[in-house]
Symmetry: C2
Subunit: 334 residues, 2 copies
């Protein structure tokens, strides 16, 4: 079972929570300056450090993956696009349930990423912390008494911790409150982005919110502050959803029902259409307009129907993907 097939707390609003730790190994130059030998050495060191848990992980040497398989990992947020366009040896060490992914020789030597379904900053932090401790047992991290963990980019220096959540905000979007939310989040030291990170638009009213500051606060303070900002956004979304539920506009009901009908019956569905249908259907379930579908089934669709994942490592035309996507979507209603 992957994280996206698993029920999560508050998953009517929060799709997933993610914690990332940036670490570098002392005695090596930063990734950009690594020689081929040094790069390989670091991959070996990290993989060996994971010896006690290796059986649950797979080591992927990025250069050995076909472009479509690289893209499939990017779509699942298991690796970053940056990891794939490098000359130095790079790797991803991925847990079998796809909750933990360790990128090696990306911007930093080590990036530990932990994903949990729903609202789970503590659980995600706990996972990352354990992996961090395990690797730290055999590897000496680059650490400065005053600044904390040293990173390639100064914005990550300190704790090296970024916590983020993928959040579904259809009611705030419908009410036109997103720009206000963005401003408020920035004031609290948070950033709000679209579904696929920086610069992407918020397809289907899905947003990523993350902390911007990693220096001058303890890990626990960062996690706690993030949790508070998230809770206040969820409160706004919940009250706006309640307001909509009191008198659902007919046009909205129609949009939701048509999305539901298209998911059940369309023969071809593009990725962009599907994200919007999922958004409408999620809201429809929340409003009690349509019979419930477990939210994790909808989340799994978002992950498994993306272009590279749907192609299963092979090559498919956009039309073929749209047909296969529609057939996968239909199955959740059986």
């Amino acid at each position: 079972m992957t994280w996206y097939q698993t029920d999560g707390k508050k998953n009517d609003m929060i799709i997933s929570t993610r914690v990332r730790l940036a670490r570098n190994i002392s005695g090596f130059p930063f990734s950009a300056k690594l020689s081929r030998e040094e790069g390989e050495k670091i991959i070996d060191l990290v993989w060996e450090a994971l010896a006690p848990v290796q059986k649950d992980f797979t080591l992927y040497r990025i250069q050995k993956l076909s472009p479509v398989r690289q893209q499939a990992l990017i779509e699942k947020h298991l690796i970053s696009p940056d990891l794939t366009d490098a000359r130095a040896p790079r790797a991803a060490i991925i847990h079998k349930d796809e909750t933990i992914s360790i990128m090696v020789n990306e911007e930093d030597h080590i990036r530990i990423q932990c994903l949990a379904p729903g609202l789970a900053p503590d659980a995600a932090w706990d996972m990352a912390n354990k992996i961090d401790d395990l690797i730290g047992e055999t590897i000496s991290y680059a650490f400065h008494e005053k600044f904390g963990f040293l990173t390639s980019c100064p914005t990550n220096t300190g704790t090296g911790l970024r916590v983020s959540a993928m959040i579904h905000l259809p009611a705030i979007s419908v009410s036109g409150g997103i720009s206000g939310l963005l401003a408020q989040a920035a004031k609290s030291g948070m950033a709000v982005r679209g579904l696929y990170g920086e610069g992407s638009d918020a397809q289907g009213n899905f947003y990523q919110i993350s902390n911007q500051t990693t220096l001058g606060l303890s890990e626990e303070e960062i996690i706690e502050r993030f949790g508070r900002v998230l809770a206040s956004i969820m409160e706004v979304e919940a009250s706006l959803r309640k307001k909509i539920a009191d008198a659902v506009p007919d046009r909205l009901t129609d949009r939701i029902m048509r999305a539901y009908g298209a998911m059940r019956y369309a023969h071809m569905i593009s990725g962009k259409e599907l994200i919007n249908y999922i958004s409408d259907v999620r809201l429809g379930i929340y409003l009690g307009i349509i019979e419930p579908i477990p939210f994790e089934k909808l989340t799994a669709l978002m992950v498994t129907t993306m272009p590279a994942n749907i192609s299963g490592g092979g090559s498919m035309s956009a039309e073929e993907r749209d047909i296969k996507r529609a057939s996968i979507v239909k199955k959740i209603f059986k």
Copy 2:
């Protein structure tokens, strides 16, 4: 049971067949020149002539109907728009199953219209013939030994017979063959029009085909010739449908399935949307893509969900009608 709730022969292509007879009463001026008293007298004469079958008919004095009730009869093709915008007394005498409608004091004193579901020129002609004979028993028709039945407009003089069919031609439409069909029909003395008669466009690929000549041929010859032209059009449509069925394009399957999904789940459906959905779903049933719905249920939808009929004599906004239309459409899937 009305005609449109009844299964008809070849109703996968032919919605209905209609026969109309134009008659005038000797000793009266044509409708345009009738006095109020003469108009009333004609209504009485026709109604009295129907004495043996009166219990199955209702006499509507058009001027006493509200505009929305007049419109409801127009939508069902039971009366013509012309019948409603007159100063002289006008009436419609309508059979309880809506197969027979006799307009009084329209362009001609008497217009007998008989509708039958599916391909049924003989049955429709038989009905019209019987009503014609019954009225002719007590009323003296304006008749000329050489020209035949005299009519207000010379194009109807002779037999006064027009036979028409409402035909669904999605395959010919998709294949771009409609203009060729129009030219061929004209050569055979037939006219092809859109769903709502002259000048209307062919919404949902529904067409009306009718004979243009009423003089110089016997009634039986007109009916027979019409049947032959119709059969040749149906043959073309059938062979094109077969060609589509051999390899249904994915885009067409998608359009059909989405139409089906929208009919099942949409909360609001406009009249124009519905005609297109019905067209796609009819083709989908023919192609075996979707589970069969009796065609007469789809025909009934076309009639009962039109604006005036859906309003049930009251006043509704377009939005209210769209909501009610969608709820009526949904019921056919239960």
